[in-house]
Symmetry: C2
Subunit: 289 residues, 2 copies
Amino acid sequence: MAREAGRDRAALIAIDWGTTSFRAYRLDAHGAVVDSRSAPKGILSVAPGGFPAVLEAQIGDWLGDAPVVMSGMVGSRQGWMEAPYVPCPAGLDEIASALLEVRKGVWIVPGVSCRDESGVPDVMRGEETQVLGAERSGLFCLPGTHSKWVEVRNGRIERFSTYMTGELYALLRQHSLLGRMMEEGKPADARAFSEGVARSAEPGGLLHHLFGVRTRALMGELHAAAAPSYLSGLLIGHELRSSRAREILIIGEPALAERYREAAAALGIESELLEPTCGTRALFRLGRR
Amino acid sequence: MAREAGRDRAALIAIDWGTTSFRAYRLDAHGAVVDSRSAPKGILSVAPGGFPAVLEAQIGDWLGDAPVVMSGMVGSRQGWMEAPYVPCPAGLDEIASALLEVRKGVWIVPGVSCRDESGVPDVMRGEETQVLGAERSGLFCLPGTHSKWVEVRNGRIERFSTYMTGELYALLRQHSLLGRMMEEGKPADARAFSEGVARSAEPGGLLHHLFGVRTRALMGELHAAAAPSYLSGLLIGHELRSSRAREILIIGEPALAERYREAAAALGIESELLEPTCGTRALFRLGRR
């Protein structure tokens, strides 16, 4: 029923097609989501040349009545087609003028690139629509496998930095000596998490602090079931401290965003949690251009 | 021939029995090495209870004519028998009084433990004999899977810190997204290594710098064959910077020690390379007590 109602009013189909998942939204003339679908059909699961067929299979019945705007890794070298990065500073105007039409009425949003003061490049794909959709100025933190820190001023991304926090956390749990002494599948341990955050502010650096996960466990001062939370706090603490931020806007999966909020509070950083779905708003505005 | 000559003069058998390798030395009455053997028979390859048999198999023909002193992970919970850690400050006297006799004439050297100013524990097994054998005061750096930084004053270990540098390097090469874009088996790239070291001194922190390995490669600014060297420089640079050292003594496998020396020079840290085999000297002195 909802879908039929949505069908009548669709003005745009917005798609967030990332590394591991595919999420599609039908938007009405006001940009409101009237229907959505998601599937574990991230670009890593799609063979080269297979993207049009996956799109058909997922939302074939939606196609034809509205333009489709897709953001995320679908525009990477491993995606449907590579959409070259738009350099910072970049707002919706710069991004809109670089949309890539991959078939009639189907557009890919380019990623954004920047260089830090030392000239080292950084890139993102997908997060730009999330931060621009929030329609706020400030320093955004988007936690994840590769956390993005994005500075937005007056509707334009000025610069950003990526942190490998989530990937390193997974690597250390799955493959390191630390992982071998951890008990998995237990609920998060709030105390161990905050001990990890506090540790990140002490001397020694991350490479040394990581070894402390092992030694504290060895000495019976950190329980195997609490060790993943301690490690998480340690890594998130180091990320937050490296950012040198005082005030941040967090967009992310709710449980993870909440952990960042707690860690930020412990480190004296003010934070505000934003809705994680604000990306459709930017896609809607891009689609109208 | 050399072995027969050595046989006559053996005063002590010194063994460095670590996680992945077994190294045995026959020492004469002056502590000089007259014969040595090594095998990839680290404690990880020995089943519980299998240690006496491995010792027999490796140096059975040496046994009986001199006491045996063993250091390293052989004294850990996963080794022959656990030799409890001696707390810092610890010199040869403290260590000698805690030697553990596991069978007649066969002794295990205990490891050393300490706590940093925040009370977080740290431990080592084997490195203590290397630094005490050097008979020098100073800040020692022993690079490796778990690099040890050891402060020695007047023959005693005052404190030390462990860095997970080597393990993280291996993890990132083997299991991370960064590893996927690296070409393996190429010679070290000196320029990429020093770029990595220089990067470690820039703002952003390690979690951010790691992502730069990917983005520089993505942008064609770092060749796949040079990426391992850049990553190595980045990690070693972060370790050296975290230590806040000005002057260090390096003991390690020659190629790795040389990389640390180069990185230290680039970061304005004075360093001196010491012979990596000085551990037998301390074992000799321990054996005489």
